[in-house]
């Protein structure tokens, strides 16, 4: 149902989903199949979400290749990689349900690579005990998106793409809808809904160097935080050891782990194979965080390349081998850098890859602490704890995407549409309009300052002094961002989007920095040079909420693991 008013167009739906990545799309299918009317909103075109970039695969204990694999082993791998602050129930659900979600995706039309017996092929990946990643060559994300897109298009699911949500609307404590701009027309739309799911992906774009796509500015974190939702584990940011550093346009673009898997070695500018100093046994093939920290340390010590990276060299394997085993990397370097990796070294550096933290949710339904508000995908937290296993995110978006669709649908059946306050709508329309058609601070400059600040001061090895510096800059940028504005109108104005993204980017950044200061230990992806050890007293989660005088942090106990599950994992060592 849509109603036009002079200022905005109003719609009603049972379940409103913000985000059309893997999580949002899977949620839409689940909510629709549970009998709810569903509307999906996404900032970019349908089918372009960040998820399309995923390469390696999706983790599910199908045990097709290694018969010994089971949900129990997947569970244990996930808990141990999360360094004991993951939510055990989420890890249990993920490891039990991922195989079903993969097979269901196959029934939706996805074609995974096969074993000689004709079952779904599974590949090895860092820190997975068994070969577990179901994949479609090196474009697993694209296959997931295209398959889900097909399912959405053939259901009566409404979608508004290139639609930017600026605010969640509330009726008392409850979230009852959202407001935003349809980019192609510049019209404002208001959605009244019984339940809202936030599946907006990560916040990698608050860093200068990231593998993340344009959309990943942490919008959902900001929207939910402003609406009163609790965030958790925000200090946990995953760096991938190898991203491209050159040319500038592709800085941060992922260089797959496969290059090292096939024998690639890391060298500093002096030609030294430095991994021998950091990890003499496993060398380049040690865990992601260890290799990433080594690369970073070399660059910081002034032993980096002219473009601020280290060298990744695979030339010794010969042209035939490289083209056969790493065809897409060969093409990626040829197309973008004009570098022939069969003859020349690649320049790489750590790149911000994934946000483990996010909105705190209930494992069963993905409900947040705010009635009517649900969250799933990278924007939600709990599953990955202090570090994410490769392949667990694609599993996460399907497993918890489906659960959030069902959770929101069942909530929506018990409740009627809320009341949307006209004054709140008018105020938001006024705010948005006040940001265009005039001189103001250039939002891109402010975003660049934030990105540089984060990359410089909140990198993979942190310390109090730099974190304090980062916090100061963030405070300053919070004030300056209030003065940002652009010319033009509401129609397809990306400068305006950058203005609107700034507050969410700053919320994400502030949470990361405050949490990193608070966590005076090194655990998983969070490493502090001034507190290099793990501290048993900090085997806890940090919760972030909006208080009257700014952001509030609070330590909370990790949910107690029942004995039958605790038996599956190794005791934590200090």
């Amino acid at each position: 149902m849509s109603v036009m008013s002079s200022q905005y167009i109003k719609h009603e739906t049972d379940v409103l989903i913000i985000g059309a990545g893997g999580a949002g799309m899977r949620a839409a299918i689940a909510a629709f199949d549970s009998g709810s009317s569903v509307t999906v909103l996404s900032k970019s075109l349908l089918g372009k979400a960040h998820t399309v970039m995923a390469e390696g695969g999706i983790a599910a204990a199908l045990a097709n290749v290694d018969p010994k694999d089971s949900w129990e082993v997947h569970f244990a791998d996930t808990m141990e990689e999360g360094v004991y602050i993951s939510n055990f129930r989420m890890a249990e659900i993920l490891s039990k349900e991922a195989p079903e979600r993969v097979r269901e995706l196959e029934e939706y039309g996805a074609l995974f690579d096969r074993t000689p017996e004709g079952t779904i092929m599974q590949r090895a990946f860092g820190a997975h005990t068994y070969r577990r990643l179901c994949h479609v060559g090196d474009r697993t994300g694209l296959e997931i998106i295209r398959t889900l897109e097909d399912q959405i298009l053939h259901r009566d699911i409404k979608f508004f793409d290139e639609f930017y949500v600026t605010k969640l609307l509330k009726d008392g404590e409850r979230v009852v809808g959202a407001i935003g701009i349809k980019l192609n027309t510049g019209d404002i739309h208001v959605f009244s809904s019984k339940a809202v799911i936030v599946s907006t992906g990560g916040c990698g774009r608050i860093y200068k160097v990231t593998s993340n796509s344009w959309e990943s500015t942490g919008d959902g974190l900001g929207l939910a935080f402003e609406a009163g939702a609790e965030l958790m584990d925000m200090e946990m940011i995953q760096f991938h050891p190898t991203g491209m550093v050159f040319p500038p346009g592709v800085k941060g673009l992922l260089v797959t782990e496969g290059v090292r898997g096939e024998g690639g070695i890391l060298l500093n500018a002096q030609g030294e194979r430095y991994m021998a100093r950091y990890s003499p046994k496993k060398m380049e093939l040690d865990a992601r965080d260890i290799v990433a920290r080594a690369n970073y340390a070399e660059i910081m010590a002034g032993r980096g390349t002219a473009h601020g990276g280290v060298y990744l060299d695979i030339t010794h394997r010969g042209a035939d081998f490289i083209k056969r085993k790493l065809p897409s990397m060969y093409k990626q370097y040829m197309d973008f850098a004009g570098v022939d990796i069969t003859k020349e070294k690649m320049e790489v550096a750590p790149t911000v890859h994934y946000q483990m933290g996010g909105i705190r949710v209930d494992p069963e339904s993905t409900a947040t602490n705010i009635p009517g508000l649900f969250a799933s995908g990278e924007v939600a937290s709990g599953l990955h704890g202090a570090n994410r296993l490769g392949g667990n995110s694609l599993a996460d978006i399907l497993v918890f995407g489906k659960r959030s669709g069902e959770g929101a649908s069942s909530y929506s059946k018990k409740i009627s549409q809320g009341k949307i306050d006209d004054a709140a709508i008018s105020a938001e329309i006024e705010r948005v309009n006040s940001l265009v058609g005039r001189d103001g601070l250039n939002p891109y400059d402010l975003a660049s300052r934030l990105e540089e600040n984060m990359s410089e001061n909140v990198g993979i090895i942190r310390n109090e002094e730099n974190l304090r510096k980062a916090l100061e800059t963030i405070q300053e940028l919070k004030d300056l961002s209030k003065k940002a504005a652009v010319h033009g109108g509401l129609k397809y104005n990306k400068g305006l989007l950058q203005v609107l993204e700034l507050p969410s980017m700053l919320t994400a950044a502030e949470a990361i920095v405050r949490g990193a200061i608070e966590r005076k230990e090194s655990r998983g992806a969070h490493a502090r040079s001034d507190y290099p050890k793990k501290d048993p007293a900090m085997r806890k989660n940090i919760i972030y909420t909006k208080g009257e005088r700014g952001m509030r942090l609070e330590w909370r106990e990790v949910p107690k693991i029942p004995d039958n599950l605790r038996k599956l994992i190794r005791e934590e060592e200090y």
Partner: protein, 249 residues
């Protein structure tokens, strides 16, 4: 610092009478792609420039444009690939313009809705067994990133109001038809309802596809051939006989 000149099409149909090319001077950086130049303009010269991009990595198909009249991805076109240094960027012309370099490609969703979705054969034993060789055909088509450059270059779409869905959609139908466990045959639908008959196999679409899909040889021609072979029996049209090896290859 060395710089380059880029000529960019600017037009807002809702407020301006006609479009024009505007020249911008952008500092040149080694290894720069056209999208870098556009982002420089957006960031430092005119934030009101409308353009579309997501991944900067040739993976999402958002940044389609005509660069010196050739349908291309801006993020994959290097500035130094034009020896004379002249770069002219305009929106893809097959679709209605929204603003500047951004066009309205939404009609493609309506077309995709009409192509019957993946429909597995009945009575398959689970979990499904499929051999690797049988997925290769469909896999080629599944590489499609929906950049719609092939649609842009197709003269049938550009010049005639023929109702032809266009090469992207034939690729989609072919990806489903070549799925080893799919029960339908979409070739009759493609020929009768999706206007495939209008395609005269000029191969222009294949030439611009950034994913190097052999659109004409591997998707269009087989779909055309099967339609010719099929009997005009409504059941034969949609439910493919499941002879050994299937009737689709």
């Amino acid at each position: 610092m060395e710089s380059i000149k880029v000529s960019v099409y600017r037009y807002d149909p809702s407020s301006e009478k006609e479009g024009r090319f505007v020249d911008y001077e952008v500092p040149k950086e080694e290894g720069m792609v056209v999208l870098d130049a556009m982002k420089y303009i957006e960031r430092h010269i005119d934030p009101s420039l409308s353009l579309r991009w997501n991944c900067m990595a040739g993976k999402c198909g958002s940044c389609s444009a005509e660069i010196n009249h050739r349908p291309s991805l801006m993020c994959k076109t290097r500035v130094d690939s034009f020896k004379d240094g002249k770069i002219k960027v305009s929106p893809i012309a097959a679709y209605p313009l929204i603003k500047d370099l951004v066009t309205d490609v939404s009609q493609n969703w309506d077309l995709l809705k009409k192509i019957p979705k993946f429909t597995p054969r009945e009575g398959l034993e689970k979990p499904w067994k499929i051999s690797q060789v049988d997925i290769e055909r469909s896999k080629e088509f599944k590489k499609c990133i929906e950049c719609f450059l092939c649609q842009d270059v197709c003269h049938v779409i550009r010049e005639h109001n023929s109702g032809y869905f266009g090469p992207r959609h034939v690729v989609k139908a072919a990806s489903l038809d070549m799925h080893p466990l799919d029960a339908l045959d979409r070739s009759e639908f493609m020929n009768k309802d999706a206007g495939l008959g209008y395609c005269n196999i000029t191969k222009c679409c294949t030439e611009v596809c950034p994913e190097e899909i052999h659109i004409t040889d591997n998707a269009i021609i087989p779909e055309k051939e099967r339609a010719v072979n099929a009997e005009y029996d409504p059941i034969a049209i949609f439910v493919r006989s499941r002879r050994k090896g299937g009737g689709k290859r």
